[in-house]
Structures are given as structure tokens and as C-alpha cells.
């Protein structure tokens, strides 16, 4: 394990390091001993949500008035993502911290009543919230969503379906993108839909990785949603979604960096211990250069990640940089997972190995939260290329 001793950095202070120690300790005690079992079982017990809330980690970055623990800057969130990733589980984030994409829109645009009802119990570890944007007909083209919410006086009548929704099976409410107006982005609104409303049904999906996190298809069949559940203004939902993507992407970059770091640490330790042809693997130039190639790339990701975080904390919204970093960080993760697999040889192919799981969980990182193709195009537009 890399312990980051006495780091000198323009961004990280003693407070950050003290916080990192605590997260590390939480991970070692509460998560590392259980994650393999939870991943195989396809579920994280509610007691872990509670433990994360007791440690002040579930609610990191939310206002105190809603039961949150306010973070003075973005680096605390980076540390949390990075350290949770050291268990080699990408799935723990969507399994437990999925409110990280479902709740910020309610915090930023919701009424006090909405916040009290839909955010506070989630931050206490009692309930889960999910974000429902993607539909069976497509996820990249968010402005083309087909689920409709028809104005029916005191309520909306919602029809349609959503798919690939993280936490969709366990969530008690969904922050949902719906069409209230005409075609295109100008007809999109955000509605908070309670999972127990008549007409809501859901089915689980089996998937390649992220086993400890459920993923669902949601069906809305003439669901009556009270008007008071509209988030922000009608037909202004597209801006809410875009606002949300930026914070999601920063977290995903930090997670990708952390998972890649885990691959490097695992592979480096194995390369020191494993002997072939009379010497440790790391004694072969080909292998130690692989480790350097991994480290080189991931350290570059980290430098850019920290710089972008600093700029965000100073009021900027560096959309192009964030988009490009999301691509770079997740592709670096793919590279590192691939090389770590190669260094481990056959042992990497066996379940129970962190690298095996990370390798299976790289693709969701390059596709979810904005695919590489879409983000490069977004960056190109921003940069005027």
C-alpha cells in the first residue's frame, strides 16, 4: 500500500491527510473484510450505509442543515473516492454513494420540503436515492428522452421507462428526467418520483461488474406524481442534468485514479514477490517498464485532477478539461488494469483477485457518466476545434 508519507503539495494540507487516515481506517475495518462477500451476494447490507453515515462519510459534501458534513474543498471528495477504490471495488460507489448523482440536483434546485423528504434520510443511511436519465432508446442523447409527464392539474401523469439505473431496485425515490414540453432539451423537466407510487415497477439487470450495486429497468405506467415533486422549473430540466454531470465526472475521475493506483500497487507487490527464470518479475525490464508506464500515466491524471479540482473550488466550471480528464482517467484505468492483469498472469483471471474485479469494471467507467466518444465531442465543441 502506498502511504503518501509527509506529502508536500499545494493542495493537500494536514487536515486532508488526517481525513485520509480516517477514511483508510474505515475502509480497513468496515469494507475490506466484507467487500468480496458483498460483491458475490450482489448486495451491501444497510448496516454499512449506517456505518458510513456514523463515520461522516456518507454525507460528505452536503449542507449541515440537511444532515450533511460540509467539505471545505473538493479534495476531501477526491480522497474519499481514492481510498474507497483501494478495495478494488468500483461497485461500492454506485451501491452506497449513488445519491452522489441523485441528490445534488435536489440540494441545488429543490425546495426545502423536497430536501427534507428526499435528501436527509438518504444522508442518514436510512434510504437510497437514484438518478434516472437513461432510457432503453438511448443514454448519450439526453435531450431525446421519451418518458412523458403530462400536466393533469394537481399532478403529472408519467409514462415511459428508464434503464441501467444504479440503485434502482433499492432506491425509495428517483430523480427522473421526463418530457413535459416539446422535442429537444427545452422540453425536459426533472421530477422526483417515489418508488412506491402505483404504476411504478422495476426489474433487476445482471451485469459484467459492479455486482454489489443493483442496476434496474424502471417502468412508469400512468404514475400520478404530485406537482410539488417538480425539481426547479418546468422545461428547465436539461440545465439541472448538465450541472449534475460536472460533479459526477470529478468523482468518477477520482475513482478511476484510485482504481488504477490499486492496480499499480497490486501489480508492483506481485512483481516483487513472484519469481520467474531465477529472478523476481520486476527484475525483468519488460515488467518493470510496464509498472513505470502505468505510474507515469496515472500520476499525470492525478496532477490534472488536482488542478481541475482547485479551479472548480475557485469558481471555474472547466467543462472541456473535465470532459477530457474523464476520458483520460478512465482510459488510463483500462490501461493499468490491462497491464496489471498481464503482470499477474493466470492468477489475475481468478475471482477474489482485486485486479480481476477492476478489469471487469473498467468498461462501465468509460461508458457511464458520459461515454468517451460523447465527451471528446463535447470537449471539441468547447474548445472550438
Amino acid at each position: 500500500m502506498t502511504l503518501n508519507p509527509q506529502r508536500v503539495s499545494p493542495y493537500y494540507t494536514e487536515d486532508h491527510e488526517a481525513f485520509r487516515d480516517q477514511v483508510r481506517r474505515f475502509v480497513a475495518r468496515e469494507l475490506a473484510p466484507n467487500i468480496d462477500e458483498w460483491d458475490e451476494a450482489g448486495e451491501v447490507p444497510w448496516s454499512f450505509h449506517k456505518a458510513a453515515a456514523d463515520a461522516g462519510l456518507l454525507q460528505l459534501g452536503y449542507p449541515e442543515s440537511l444532515g450533511g458534513v460540509e467539505a471545505p474543498d473538493s479534495f476531501y471528495n477526491i480522497i474519499l473516492n481514492d481510498e474507497l477504490a483501494q478495495t478494488g471495488s468500483g461497485g461500492i460507489m454506485p451501491a452506497v454513494w449513488v445519491h452522489g448523482i441523485a441528490c445534488p440536483p435536489i440540494v441545488a434546485f429543490g425546495s426545502q420540503a423536497q430536501q427534507a423528504k428526499y435528501v436527509t434520510p438518504v444522508l442518514a443511511g436510512e434510504k437510497m436515492a437514484a438518478l434516472a436519465i437513461t432510457e432503453p432508446s438511448g443514454g448519450s442523447d439526453v435531450a431525446a428522452i421519451k418518458t412523458t409527464a403530462r400536466d393533469a392539474g394537481d399532478h403529472y401523469l408519467v409514462n415511459g421507462s428508464k434503464t441501467f439505473i444504479s440503485g434502482g431496485m433499492r432506491a425509495s425515490a428517483f430523480t427522473t428526467a421526463v418530457r413535459t414540453g416539446g422535442d429537444g432539451p427545452g422540453g425536459v423537466s426533472m421530477l422526483i418520483i417515489d418508488a412506491d407510487l402505483p404504476g411504478v415497477s422495476r426489474t433487476p439487470l445482471k451485469k459484467m461488474g459492479w455486482w454489489c450495486s443493483d442496476t434496474a429497468t424502471l417502468y412508469f405506467d400512468n404514475v400520478k406524481v404530485p406537482k410539488s415533486n417538480l425539481l426547479g422549473q418546468e422545461n428547465r430540466g436539461f440545465a439541472v442534468i448538465m450541472h449534475n454531470f460536472n460533479s459526477e465526472r470529478l468523482s468518477m475521475c477520482a475513482q478511476a485514479y484510485g482504481l488504477a493506483r490499486c492496480c499499480i500497487d497490486q501489480a508492483a507487490a506481485y512483481a516483487r514477490d513472484r519469481h520467474t527464470f531465477g529472478q523476481p518479475l520486476a527484475g525483468h525490464q519488460v515488467i518493470r517498464h510496464k509498472l513505470v508506464d502505468m505510474q507515469m500515466r496515472n500520476q499525470s491524471v492525478k496532477a490534472w485532477l488536482d488542478e481541475i479540482a482547485w479551479r472548480i473550488d475557485h469558481g471555474e466550471t472547466p467543462v472541456a478539461d473535465l470532459s477530457m480528464l474523464k476520458v483520460l482517467a478512465t482510459q488510463t484505468l483500462e490501461f493499468c488494469a490491462n497491464e496489471a492483469m498481464q503482470i499477474f498472469g493466470g492468477a489475475a483471471y481468478m475471482r477474489g483477485n482485486k485486479v480481476e474485479r477492476i478489469y471487469r469494471e473498467t468498461k462501465v467507467m468509460t461508458i457511464g457518466g458520459g461515454s468517451a466518444e460523447i465527451l471528446k465531442d463535447l470537449a471539441a465543441r468547447q474548445l472550438g476545434f
Binding site: 488526517a18 463515520a55 461522516g56 458534513v69
Partner: protein, 248 residues
């Protein structure tokens, strides 16, 4: 009551210790340092007493270099009200530490001094006992359970033969063992608040302490590498192997 807790800055328990090439000690360059885990247990005990209303004030004490302030900040984040930092760059051995703690005890007059049963650097397991002796106070070492009742404390001790429960009159020195509690996670707001709590800094000389006779370490060596084990098929093979080695 007033509770004093002593905490020590030691190499983090996750670090793989490396002995210096010349055998003059262990490598501390750039190595991660943390609060001695047994002292964290002592801190947890103290703040639990505060939460329960048994303790009104918790004072954390450390003896060590300027950087040991980090460990005092952790103690303050745990919930100590204030801290005392006896600054020194010298290596402090148990008797000197005990003299310093005894002096601070006399100054502060707490009802109890809590400290880890040993520090994981030298594993001396002496400071608590020596402090009690210097102060001529009762001591209860290796505590795995503590119950306060008026001017007495009932302490369950982990001893070789199992558990032993004793009663001591207060004030007393109690050293904490692993099973006493599970130290809490320090939350970010508490880490931030700890920055604002007072730390009273002083030198060993300020306290008028004479350093005890130094024990000289002549050589540090890593433990011999363990030979790999062998798998045996059955008890017969085990017995014959042991006979070969002259073990039975």
C-alpha cells in the same frame, strides 16, 4: 472528573519497518507516523467517559518533536478539550517519559491518567507502571474493561492466565489493552474543530526534569527470516519430522 491521556507519535502500524544498513536503528525517513494504537484506545476511553458525563475535562499530553503536534490534533479531534506538548527532539526513554508525565500529573491533578499499555515502536511496556510508581499511586495495567464508581475504579485486566478484576482507589494510572474498545472514526468537522483547541507547549527543561540515565542501543537487527514450512500428510509424518529435528 479530570482525565489525562498520554499519546505518542510512532511509526504507523501499516508501515513495514526497515532496519538501517549499519544496524544503528530503523529507517524513519519519510515514513508515515501516527498515534500509537494503544493510545487511541486510551483516548477513546476518555472521550467515552466525557460522553457519559463521568469526565468533565480530558487533557491530552505528548512528549516528542514539533511534528508530534499532529498526534495532539488527532487527540483533540477525538474530543480532548486541550493538550500539552512537551517538545523535544531527543529520544525519550520510559523513565524520562514517566518523570515528565508524573510532573504534569502533579500540575494538573487529574483523577486518572490513561495511557496505552505500550507503544508499538519499542514495545517497552514500562511508562505507565513507572509513572504510577513515581507518583506513589495505584496502577491497573492492560485494562480490557473499566468501571468508575465514586472514588474507585473496577478494572478488568488481561493477564497471562485470563482475566483478572481489581479495584483501585483514585487517582490512579490505568493502561489500556486492545480489547477495551474500538476507537471511533474522527469526523471531518471534528478534525477541523481540533485546529482551534489550545495546545500548551513547553520544553523538558521548563518542567525541571532531569533526563534519566540513557539506555544505549548497541545494535538493531531485523528478526531472522523464517524458514518456509513443510506440509505433512498425517500425524505419523508430523511426529517423525519432529523426531528428526529432536523436538520430541
Amino acid at each position: 472528573m479530570k482525565v489525562m491521556v498520554s499519546v505518542k507519535r510512532v511509526v504507523d502500524y501499516n508501515v513495514r519497518i526497515q532496519v538501517k544498513g549499519d544496524g544503528s536503528g530503523v529507517n524513519l525517513d519519510g515514513v508515515k507516523m501516527s498515534m500509537n494504537p494503544f493510545d487511541e484506545i486510551a483516548m477513546e476511553q476518555a472521550v467515552q467517559m466525557k460522553d457519559a458525563g463521568t469526565a468533565e475535562e480530558v487533557i491530552a499530553v505528548t512528549i516528542g518533536p514539533a511534528k508530534a503536534e499532529e498526534q495532539l490534533r488527532s487527540a483533540l479531534a477525538f474530543g480532548a478539550d486541550r493538550a500539552i506538548h512537551v517538545k523535544t527532539d531527543e529520544e525519550i526513554q520510559p523513565l524520562t517519559a514517566a518523570r515528565i508525565l508524573a510532573k504534569l500529573f502533579e500540575k494538573e491533578q487529574p483523577k486518572v491518567l490513561l495511557t496505552g499499555k505500550q507503544a508499538i515502536d519499542d514495545d517497552a511496556n514500562q511508562t505507565g507502571q513507572m509513572t504510577a510508581a513515581l507518583l506513589d499511586l495505584p496502577q491497573a495495567t492492560f485494562a480490557s474493561a473499566i468501571e468508575f464508581d465514586g472514588d474507585k475504579a473496577k478494572v478488568t485486566r488481561e493477564v497471562d492466565s485470563g482475566l483478572e478484576t481489581i479495584e483501585v482507589d483514585l487517582p490512579a494510572v490505568i493502561t489500556t489493552d486492545l480489547r477495551l474498545n474500538e476507537p471511533r472514526y474522527l469526523k471531518l468537522p471534528d478534525i477541523m474543530k481540533a485546529k482551534k483547541k489550545p495546545i500548551d507547549a513547553m520544553s523538558v527543561e521548563d518542567l525541571g526534569i532531569e533526563e534519566a540515565v540513557k539506555l544505549n542501543v548497541t545494535k538493531t537487527a531485523p528478526p531472522p527470516e523464517r524458514e518456509p514450512g513443510v506440509m505433512v500428510e498425517d500425524v505419523n509424518e508430523l511426529v517423525s519430522k519432529m523426531k528428526d529435528k529432536g523436538l520430541v
